[in-house]
């Protein structure tokens, strides 16, 4: 196979640089080369226009969709997922044995007492009320 001529080399270099010319990502020397090639070869404007239109089509992918709808769906999906975690904790709590529950409550009370000596009792009662665990609250009292 014969070696490509200088003009073929230039044409190939031009084609290879075009995708990045349209996004202005070329070095100054490469950009100057493309500008000069376009000036010397008016027919190459077609290749430039084709590449520009192609890049615009890619940039417009998804432009006509409404992200609000997708966001709302995502938030709706995330909320039950978070609730499931809480439900699992409550279920585990309820399935724990009486001794285990007493131990957990006493441990929590001790921690709260260390962290907040003045309000630990009210805090743990409030927490238990929040969880709706009345029997456990009575055990603490």
């Amino acid at each position: 196979m014969s070696e490509p001529s200088a003009s073929q080399n230039d044409a190939q270099r031009f084609q290879k640089l075009l995708p990045f010319y349209v996004t202005r990502q070329l070095s100054a020397s490469d950009k100057d080369f493309v500008d000069a090639y376009l000036a010397d070869n008016p027919a190459s404007q077609n290749a430039l226009q084709f590449t520009e239109q192609l890049s615009q089509v890619v940039r417009r992918i998804g432009a006509d969709r409404n992200p609000d709808l997708a966001l709302q769906k995502l938030l709706n999906n995330l909320t039950p997922a978070r609730q499931n975690i809480l439900q699992r904790l409550v279920t585990q709590w309820r399935s724990a044995g009486r001794i285990s529950r007493i131990f957990i409550i006493l441990a929590a009370a001790a921690l709260l007492r260390l962290a907040s000596p003045d309000a630990w009792f009210e805090a743990i009662i409030g927490l238990l009320d929040e969880l709706g665990i009345a029997d456990a609250a009575l055990l603490v009292m």
Binding site: Q12, A70, L71, L74
Partner: protein, 196 residues
């Protein structure tokens, strides 16, 4: 699209981990267009792309503590999206049932001169639809090169790094893809000969 500043992102992701819907909304709005485009170019189906986008953010937001900033958050999201796309593709068996343009390697030399003037034959909106359909027929490696080059407007060195191949391969891949789309468009508008 630029990533959110690191400090801002860290604060937001901590809030996301705590279930703060406002933080979720900010992160989602910033990244959703990029991730959607990345997905859409892989799966070639708008409805599936929406589902995969939702799944991608569900995973990302439920595992926000797993993001360790070793890559950009955009790269991390696209990594999740790529995995979800792979799962979806396997389920749908899309790879075996959809017709694809066959491209031999990434060689540039020896190709005929494509007819770039083919675009002048149609209205621009109609042409956009045809081009989009032709893009969908390219192999995934070429579509992914389009995404990083034109949607994200990254320099060629970065695109090559992302696709784990030499810069010359990226240049040739982009040329081959454009030539094939010119061919595909010519066929779509009724011409029998793609190259002149």
């Amino acid at each position: 699209m630029k990533d959110l500043p690191e400090n801002e992102l860290t604060i937001l992701l901590n809030k996301v981990g705590a279930g703060d819907n406002k933080a979720i909304e900010i992160v989602y709005r910033h990244y959703q267009a990029t991730v959607f485009s990345f997905i859409r170019l892989r799966v070639r189906d708008d409805a599936a792309a929406e589902e995969i986008l939702n799944d991608t953010f569900m995973i990302a937001f439920s595992k926000s503590a797993h993001y360790n900033a070793s890559s950009t958050y955009k790269t991390w999201l696209c990594g999740i999206a790529k995995n979800v796309c792979g799962t979806w593709m396997r389920k749908q068996n899309v790879a075996l049932t959809r017709a694809m343009v066959h491209i031999d390697g990434d060689e540039l030399e020896g190709l005929p001169n494509p007819d770039w003037n083919v675009l002048s034959q149609l209205e621009s909106r109609e042409m956009d639809e045809i081009i989009r359909a032709c893009i969908d027929r390219l192999p995934v490696a070429h579509r992914e090169a389009f995404f990083w080059t034109w949607f994200e407007e990254e320099p060629m060195e970065r695109v090559a790094e992302r696709l784990d191949c030499p810069i010359g391969t990226i240049k040739s891949r982009l040329f081959n893809a454009r030539a094939k789309i010119s061919d595909c468009v010519r066929n779509a508008v009724g011409g029998a000969q793609a190259y002149v």
